[in-house]
């Protein structure tokens, strides 16, 4: 679609650099502890860059802009929630979690409550959330490769999957710390520099206003190639040229479209005249600039009960971050609890700066690349906007820069997820946590989502990520918060809560992703489940713990001491560190 001749080289450079830095780190990775948590010797600034680099995934780099382009003001809650999740993590989890001394989430569950059974379920949900989150990364890679080079969808997914699996299996986490820290700064540069250029072009007499009374129109004659068959809805009748199949018949030439739905076959090329209103993919309302810019105009994609959907989304993202396995595993690399807090604070700053930019792409995309609304694949807006707005060699170079940044996003998040998933697999399922077990686990952990991702082409990147947040918020969030702050939590209560929240949110996820379209309350309750599954998980955990109060661990006071007293006192841990 964009055909920037520099895009592919940029992607290759990013990939090679990632492997090279990983190989450099390999020289230091000797023991198992090195592999898993970089021997806990990473300074807050490096750690914060690494956490941010790992966290800014396909959803942040491509998905947020895509959602903003489609839905407008309502989805601004996605990036705000992605960042605010770190505040919740800072306030309730960061320091005590580090002080618990556990390596992984299942370690924490077992150390706090002493239950092997709970540990096993924690392992299960780490793997589920990890794979759920890996899928959209691989798909984002597939989409990017197809947008940039026209390569089949699976090529990008396989490239990212393979690079990451090999890198993690050979280098472990210490090398990943270098890689991730590098990735944050690369991603920030890649999204900020082109954004500033585009903004300057728009301000100096570019294309009109964002908040007009009409849905987006083509500002010049525009050719669109439809890769996958699509049904579009046309509001204003228009005349266009088409080569391929439209409404079931072969066409080659001029075509009149009346108001209503039209079916466009795969591989069809459409040429729209300047000034025509942009048809939208069926199901996506054609919003005027006014409605798009106003809150609760679109309901963030859920047409019914937008207020409920908004609050549910806020809850999922605010509380889900602390339950993401690849986020938590990084806190063990801090030297102590205070460093964990300071690291999180720096992360808040780094994310805050980054999230200023995707919104800009989404908004300006409505002016410069409105044709993405035809296929609904607005996730590509970040990739295509620089080329469309600037043109010439500069546009191509900046387009290559964002392409490199996007690949950095897939590589880094996928690496982090893979490290944490293979971490728990190697200690709990496949072996006993030796370096060799870790390598084997990494191969398994990388292969499974790769196979699934190659099967499903048209899953919405941001939606799946949002659902992963909902599952994390309904399982690990109550476990962590209650485990850290409430003495009364018991192993049975924790397990009941994790299972109730996990089963319900996971069911909602599966129905939303694979089931049919549901309207009204059932639809919104399943599409944005956090608002009811999270309180429910908390309630079940508290009530069942109360009922089984005799099972409160006998040395609970000592465990609370360990979690909350500064390490330098050496309290609750036998001897000072």
């Amino acid at each position: 679609m964009s055909g920037s001749p520099f895009a592919l080289p940029a992607v290759i450079v990013v990939t090679v650099l990632t492997i090279a830095i990983g190989a450099y780190g390999l020289r230091f990775s000797r023991t198992t502890s090195d592999f898993l948590v970089a021997s806990r010797s990473v300074s807050p600034r490096w750690n914060a860059s690494a956490i941010s680099g790992e966290y800014l995934s396909a959803a942040s780099f491509l998905g947020v802009a895509g959602l903003v382009m489609k839905y407008g003001a309502d989805v601004l809650w996605y990036p705000v929630g992605f960042a605010a999740g770190y505040l919740a993590l800072l306030l309730f989890v960061a320091a005590p979690l580090r002080r618990s001394g556990a390596f992984t989430l299942p370690d924490f569950a077992e150390a706090r409550l002493g239950s092997r059974m709970l540990r096993r379920w924690a392992v299960f949900f780490v793997v589920v959330i990890g794979w759920l989150y890996l899928l959209p990364q691989l798909q984002g890679a597939g989409l990017t490769m197809r947008t940039l080079t026209g390569a089949p969808y699976w090529v990008g997914a396989v490239v990212v999957g393979a690079v990451v699996t090999v890198n993690v299996a050979t280098g472990g986490m210490r090398s990943i710390t270098f890689v991730q820290a590098f990735q944050y700064w690369l991603k920030l540069t890649a999204i900020a520099v082109p954004a500033i250029f585009v903004l300057i072009v728009w301000q100096s007499g570019g294309l009109g206003t964002l908040t007009g009374a009409q849905p987006p129109t083509f500002d010049e004659q525009t050719q669109v190639r439809v890769d996958t068959g699509v049904t579009v809805f046309v509001e204003d009748p228009l005349t266009l040229r088409a080569i391929g199949r439209v409404d079931g018949t072969a066409v080659d030439g001029s075509l009149d479209w009346g108001t209503g739905e039209h079916e466009v076959g795969a591989g069809t090329v459409l040429v729209f005249p300047a000034g025509a209103q942009v048809p939208h993919i069926s199901g996506l309302p054609a919003l005027s600039g006014e409605t798009w810019a106003a809150p609760l105009g679109s309901g963030g994609g859920s047409r019914d009960h937008p207020l409920f959907a908004t609050y549910s989304l806020i809850l999922a993202t605010f509380l889900g971050t602390m339950g993401l396995p690849h986020v938590l595993v990084r806190f063990y690399t801090n030297p102590d609890g205070r460093a964990a807090r300071r690291t999180t604070l720096i992360v808040l700053a780094l994310l805050g700066v980054f999230y200023l930019f995707p919104t800009l792409y989404g908004a300006l995309g409505r002016l410069y690349v409105p044709q993405l609304l035809i296929t609904g694949q607005t996730d590509a807006v970040v990739l295509l906007l620089p080329g469309a707005a600037l043109g010439g060699v500069l546009g191509q170079l900046l387009g290559a820069l964002v392409a490199g940044g996007a690949f950095a996003a897939f590589l880094s998040t996928a690496s982090g997820l893979l490290v944490s998933v293979s971490g728990v697999l190697s200690t709990d399922v496949i072996g006993r946590g030796t370096v060799r077990d870790f390598r084997r686990a990494a191969a398994v952990a990388g292969l499974v989502p790769l196979v699934i991702a190659a099967q499903i082409d048209r899953l919405d990147v941001s939606q799946v990520v949002g659902l992963a947040f909902a599952v994390a918020a309904s399982t690990f969030c109550p476990l962590l918060v209650l485990g850290i702050w409430w003495r009364g939590l018991t192993d049975v209560g924790a397990m009941a809560g994790v299972l109730a929240g996990g089963a319900l949110s996971l069911t909602a996820v599966l129905i939303t992703v694979f089931g049919g379209e549901l309207g009204g309350w059932p639809g919104v309750l399943l599409a944005q489940p956090a608002a009811w599954t999270v309180p429910l998980a908390f309630a079940v955990m508290i009530v069942v713990s109360r009922l089984t109060a005799s099972r409160i661990p006998p040395n609970i006071g000592r465990r609370m001491l360990l979690l909350h007293a500064p390490e330098s006192l050496g309290l609750g841990r036998g001897a000072p560190d």
Binding site: S41, L90, L348, L561, S568
Partner: protein, 128 residues
């Protein structure tokens, strides 16, 4: 910079010169904590309660400031048409100002939480 060392490097271990009485009191407090006596219980409960109160109150500030926005926009749609600094109010608040707010609250929290820990350390042992 070598990322594997702390920024400042490690300062040499400090040797405490202290009045015998204070050291003895602290040693006693430490023992109370380690042995889970009632005095130790009170100390640790106090620490946990203070940290939780701090975290909850700051979370409350954020919930009040950010969480009220969707309702406010729903009740007063006219807010969406207010322009500040060339941006519509919802876009300015959510797209830009939310991030400095989150950072400011986080910063305040880190400072206060460390203060609570320092007080606890002073009560029971060597300051960190």
């Amino acid at each position: 910079m070598d990322p594997l060392t702390t920024e400042e490097g490690r300062p040499p271990q400090r040797v405490r010169v202290d009045l015998a009485g204070r050291t003895a009191r602290r040693a006693a407090a430490r023992q109370e904590l380690e042995e889970q006596t009632q005095v130790g219980e009170v100390l640790i409960r106090g620490l946990v309660r203070a940290q939780l109160a701090l975290a909850l109150s700051l979370a409350g500030v954020v919930i009040l400031l950010l969480g009220s926005l969707p309702i406010a926009f729903a009740l007063f749609p006219a807010l969406a048409d207010v322009y500040v600094l060339g941006l519509r109010l919802p876009w300015l608040l959510l797209g830009v100002l939310a991030y400095p707010l989150l950072y400011a609250v986080g910063r305040l929290y880190v400072r206060q939480a460390e203060r609570i820990e320092d007080d606890f350390s002073k009560a029971v042992g060597t300051e960190s």
